[in-house]
């Protein structure tokens, strides 16, 4: 028996052969697709918003101004508390006024650098930790769909920590007179940017 189609005909054996050739078999391989994308997405996310970048760098600069042990306590505290905020965001726990909190963090941290504010160590850690929750929550709720959770998290934490390290590196200029002035000017810049972000959050 043949299936006629004008001058051409398809033999059942040909049809079976084609079916066998083109039939997709089950593939259970774990191809690890999306893992690199997850890491790169995580690495990129903290540096994708200027409000986050300025706040992270300010934490490092403020820590450098305060000196030891704040210079290492703040970068140790911030990622953990920020990750806690990220966890809340991932779980869908609502946090009101996230954008306002992020903008306020820019203002307060900028003013702290500008005025070389020296609160007690625990107080500085609480301030930084409080704002870290807002930053983490924003990151947690803005995760890309389908990204590898673990690699995204690794990239995210690495990028945040690197921004702190950059802030501490900039803060090294605090040991020179001109550096102290430059650092305070940078604080003023961050506070101004924070005010702009606050205005935009309410707009």
């Amino acid at each position: 028996m043949t299936i006629a189609a004008g001058r051409h005909s398809l033999h059942p054996r040909t049809i079976l052969t084609l079916a066998a050739t083109l039939w997709p078999a089950l593939a259970w391989a774990h191809t690890e697709e999306g893992r690199a994308a997850g890491f790169l997405a995580g690495l990129h996310h903290p540096i994708s918003g200027l409000d986050h970048v300025l706040a992270m760098v300010s934490v490092g600069m403020w820590g450098a101004q305060l000196g030891a042990p704040a210079v290492w306590l703040l970068p140790v505290t911030f990622p953990m508390v920020m990750a806690f905020g990220g966890m809340l965001g991932l779980m869908g726990v609502p946090l009101p006024g996230v954008e306002v909190g992020i903008a306020l963090s820019g203002i307060l941290l900028g003013l702290a650098v500008l005025s070389e504010w020296r609160p007690p160590l625990w107080s500085a850690a609480v301030i930084v930790g409080f704002f870290a929750i807002f930053h983490g929550h924003a990151h947690g709720t803005e995760l890309p769909v389908g990204a590898s959770g673990l690699l995204y998290s690794i990239g995210f934490v690495m990028a945040t920590g690197t921004l702190h390290a950059i802030g501490i590196g900039i803060g090294v200029i605090h040991r020179w007179g001109w550096g102290r002035v430059a650092l305070r000017a940078a604080g003023a810049l961050v506070a101004s940017a924070g005010a702009y972000f606050l205005w935009r959050a309410f707009a």
Binding site: T17, A20, T21, L22, W23, P24, A25, L26, A27, W28, A29, H30, W72, P75, V76, T77, P79, M80, M82, A83, F84, G86, M87, L88, G89, L90, M91, G92, G140, G149, L150, L151, Y152, S153, I154, F156, V157, M158, G161
Partner: protein, 200 residues
């Protein structure tokens, strides 16, 4: 003759194009199960990072803690892996992995003053759990005990290098860098916990 030749060509084409079922799970290097195990450990942050955190913790607590954990961890991992190979049930437990990250990274960040025996106990518990998960996964991938030996060998070398490096640190900023690394691992654990609770 011509018909026979065309049939042979057709059959060869079918065989070449037929997609086969693939059951691969772990990294395959093409160099055999031992190197598959080596590459699996080196390329799997779920195992590598908490093992590194444990090595940092052992190094922080001195050379005795480092030496005890150096042998306790691979032995426990091997034992857990053999159990996993024999009785595979769970090969992936994101919440448990997250807790490993969080607990070990948190202890490093806090520079917890644990006695060497406690560090060894942690190494045994961690090794049994992660070894079992590895063994279950390897059983499904049919890599067998040789793959497990590859994992444990890499674990031993990695742990020895990391712990020894921390024990040898003399400069204050070096110890701070270790604590920062611990806080990063703990932070990853918190995020991973959020991912697993979210069900992603």
């Amino acid at each position: 003759m011509k018909a026979l030749l065309s049939r042979i060509v057709l059959c060869v084409t079918v065989v070449l194009l037929l997609p086969a079922t693939s059951h691969a799970h772990l990294m395959t290097t093409g160099l055999g199960p031992f190197y598959d195990g080596v590459s699996h450990f080196a390329l799997t942050p779920e195992d590598l990072l908490p093992a590194l955190a444990l090595a940092l913790l052992a190094g922080q607590r001195g050379s005795r803690a480092g030496r005890l954990a150096l042998f306790a961890l691979p032995m426990a991992w091997l034992l857990g892996g053999l159990v996993g190979l024999a009785f595979p049930a769970i090969s992936d437990a994101p919440a448990l992995t997250a807790v490993s990250f969080l607990a070990l990274g948190g202890l490093v960040a806090a520079e917890a003053r644990l006695r060497p025996e406690w560090v060894t106990g942690l190494a045994v518990a961690f090794g049994l759990v992660h070894g079992y998960l590895n063994g279950s996964a390897m059983s499904q991938a049919k890599l067998g005990a040789l793959g497990l030996v590859g994992i444990v060998s890499t674990l031993f070398v990695t742990f020895a290098l990391a712990a020894a490096m921390v024990v040898a640190i003399r400069v204050p900023w070096g110890r701070i860098a270790v604590r920062v690394a611990g806080s990063w691992i703990a932070a990853v654990g918190l995020l991973l916990l959020g991912w697993s609770l979210r069900g992603a």
